[in-house]
């Protein structure tokens, strides 16, 4: 059976990127276990992971962590500085900033994660197809990818949202298409590298259908770069989503979102510094932690890997 080819056979084709096809073949020294050990040794990365966990937990349990409602106005208390009641102060309508940041984090993290999930599915599918079939399929898919990359910076995402109109789903779609090329390229490259590996040839020679070769033999072996890229892309996706919100193209008011909160704070920058400082701090902390975790994963899974 092709699936019983030992994991060590895969290591030859993609050193360090090895993954086990069948967990039963894995001993305690499987590549994933070794990567996990390398990952856990890096204290900064573990700290970043803890920070991310806390941020995610505060987003999930937002209603339990605050007595206020994110939309509840309290106009007499408008633009109150941080204090014992309103820990991080209030905005121009007297809404509690701490509460709005908790709920804003929900939306910001959701936008980022949903975008990455979508660009991952799209990019991995296209990358696998391009790498496996080659020729015309490859050329068509990769030219499409090149075109998205030919737009400078977030201009492509801005253009797409301009056409779709502002909103949560629109931001996710634009962000996902913007992030997709990186996945497609990395997966295609990895597939090309293992395409002529013995175990793929073996599977082909005993007549395994294309779909089975792609899903059972190739996908597990390109998993490592995908995991690394996904974690690094999460930071970027959260940033792009918040950028679009900052420009007023994302979730519409009064929905709180970190980028939108920052845009709000700009209006009152002379009188209410807390509206600018705290949402940005939360966003930076999130992006910094995601970047560190991504770097840690890359170092753990494959010190030689170069993304993009």
């Amino acid at each position: 059976m092709p699936s019983s080819i030992p994991a060590s056979a895969t290591n030859k084709a993609a050193p360090g990127v090895g993954a086990t096809l069948a967990p039963r073949a894995a001993t305690t020294r499987s590549p994933w276990a070794m990567a996990l050990r390398r990952f856990a040794r890096n204290r900064v990365v573990i700290l970043a992971l803890v920070v991310l966990g806390l941020l995610a937990a505060s987003a999930v349990f937002a209603p339990l962590l605050t007595p206020f409602d994110p939309l509840q106005r309290d106009v007499p208390n408008r633009l109150a500085p941080p204090g014992p009641v309103h820990w991080l102060g209030t905005d121009a309508l007297g809404r509690d900033l701490y509460t709005r940041m908790l709920f804003g984090g929900r939306l910001s993290l959701f936008l980022g994660l949903a975008s990455v999930a979508l660009s991952l599915s799209l990019g991995v599918t296209l990358g696998l197809l391009a790498g496996y079939f080659g020729a015309l399929v490859d050329a068509t898919i990769m030219r499409l990818v090149d075109l998205i990359l030919a737009f400078p910076g977030i201009l492509f995402a801005i253009w797409l949202v301009a056409l779709l109109g502002p909103g949560v789903n629109q931001v996710i779609l634009a962000n996902a298409l913007f992030g997709m090329p990186a996945f497609a390229r990395v997966v295609r490259g990895s597939v090309l590298a293992i395409k002529s590996a013995d175990y793929v040839q073996a599977a082909r020679s005993i007549g395994a259908p294309g779909g089975r070769i792609i899903l059972v033999h190739m996908l597990p072996n390109v998993l490592a770069p995908i995991v690394v890229l996904a974690s690094l892309n999460t930071a970027q996706a959260i940033l792009v989503a918040a950028s679009l919100s900052f420009l007023g193209l994302g979730p519409q008011p009064p929905m709180p979102e970190w980028g939108a909160l920052l845009a709000d704070g700009m209006t009152y920058i002379r009188s209410a510094w807390w509206l600018t400082v705290f949402p940005g701090l939360a966003l930076t902390l999130t992006v910094l932690s995601s970047n560190l975790v991504g770097d840690g994963l890359r170092d753990a899974l494959d010190p030689q890997m170069v993304v993009k």
């Binding site: 977030i154 949202v161 910094l288």
Partner: protein, 307 residues
């Protein structure tokens, strides 16, 4: 060299055409409804919509439409704003110097600071200075533009009162926008330069240079830096695109009336001809800059020419 430039040009032309096609097709597939009504704007009368339809051939087959679109583009005609009825080209030409000045100044500043930081951190690798600068670089790379800008305003304009809140095309008015836009590029360049320098500093020819008694400064700045510069040049090209895209946000923060502000206002007004024009022009500039960077790269690195 000439052959290389020509070959590079031959690749650039179809890419530009493809870009124009993508923008053209996206406008016609993503937004539901009648393109003529869309381009004419919400306030246009039925007669105006019909006039635009005839003028742009929007009642003809798509390939014909594309031909007319390309013809207009070649003459520098990007249509008229759906709100002000002004030619889009005129409005873009008004806004373009601001965006280009901002992006170019930022690219220069970021290159200067990024390369210096890279050389310093590589030379003093693993010292406290290197560690401190590297931590700052990682944090800098994670700070979103739209937080850096407001924070700089808060610190330098509101608290210290040393620079204006509002950006402008003066030295004082450009300091904060340039820093805001450049911080990410600076971080990226210094990381790359540090890695490149470290690699080069360990190579044989550097040992030879040291062995023959060259001064350390000459070894680092002349021998090592020149080779570490090669990857950095490519990154500068890529970063310039990021700067063009990022200037949309920076212009917004500092109230600079560049192409980014023009585009965002147009998006909020559903002024599609203006948005489309800005997208095409920015993408075109980016393509041109990358072309120039590739040529510069071939000058610095002869190996590229003979590939």
């Amino acid at each position: 060299m000439l052959v290389y430039i020509i070959r590079r040009l031959i690749i650039a032309v179809p890419l530009m055409l493809a870009l124009v096609a993508v923008v053209f097709i996206m406008l016609r597939t993503v937004v539901p409804g009648d393109v003529a009504a869309l381009l004419a704007g919400d306030q246009a009368s039925p007669e105006q919509v019909e006039a635009l339809r005839r003028e742009m051939g929007l009642d003809r087959p798509i390939p014909v439409q594309f031909g007319i679109f390309l013809g207009n583009l070649a003459r520098g005609d990007l249509g008229r704003s759906a709100i002000t009825r002004q030619p889009v080209t005129a409005r873009i030409l008004q806004a373009m110097p601001i965006t280009l000045t901002l992006a170019t100044l930022t690219a220069l500043t970021a290159t200067l600071i990024g390369l210096s930081l890279g050389v310093i951190t590589a030379y003093y690798a693993n010292s406290w200075l290197d560690n401190l600068l590297r931590v700052l670089v990682v944090i800098g790379a994670s700070m979103p533009t739209f937080w850096v800008g407001p924070m700089l305003i808060l610190i330098f304009a509101v608290w210290l009162r040393s620079l204006p809140v509002q950006g402008s095309m003066t030295t004082a008015g450009l300091v904060l926008p340039v820093l805001t836009l450049g911080i990410g590029a600076m971080a990226g360049l210094s990381r790359l330069t540090r890695a490149g320098m470290l690699e080069v500093l360990n190579s044989d020819y550097i040992r030879t240079a040291r062995a023959k008694g060259l001064r350390e400064r000459a070894v680092v700045l002349v021998h090592a830096f020149r080779n570490a510069l090669i990857p950095a040049i490519t990154l500068i090209g890529v970063q310039f695109g990021g700067l063009l895209g990022g200037s949309v946000i920076t212009e917004r923060i500092f109230g600079l009336p560049g192409m980014g502000t023009l585009a965002i206002n147009a998006i909020h007004n559903r002024d599609y001809p203006v948005v489309q024009g800005v997208v095409l022009v920015i993408a075109g500039i980016y393509l041109l800059v990358n072309l120039l960077v590739d040529i510069a790269y071939a000058f610095v690195n002869p190996r590229i020419r003979y590939e």
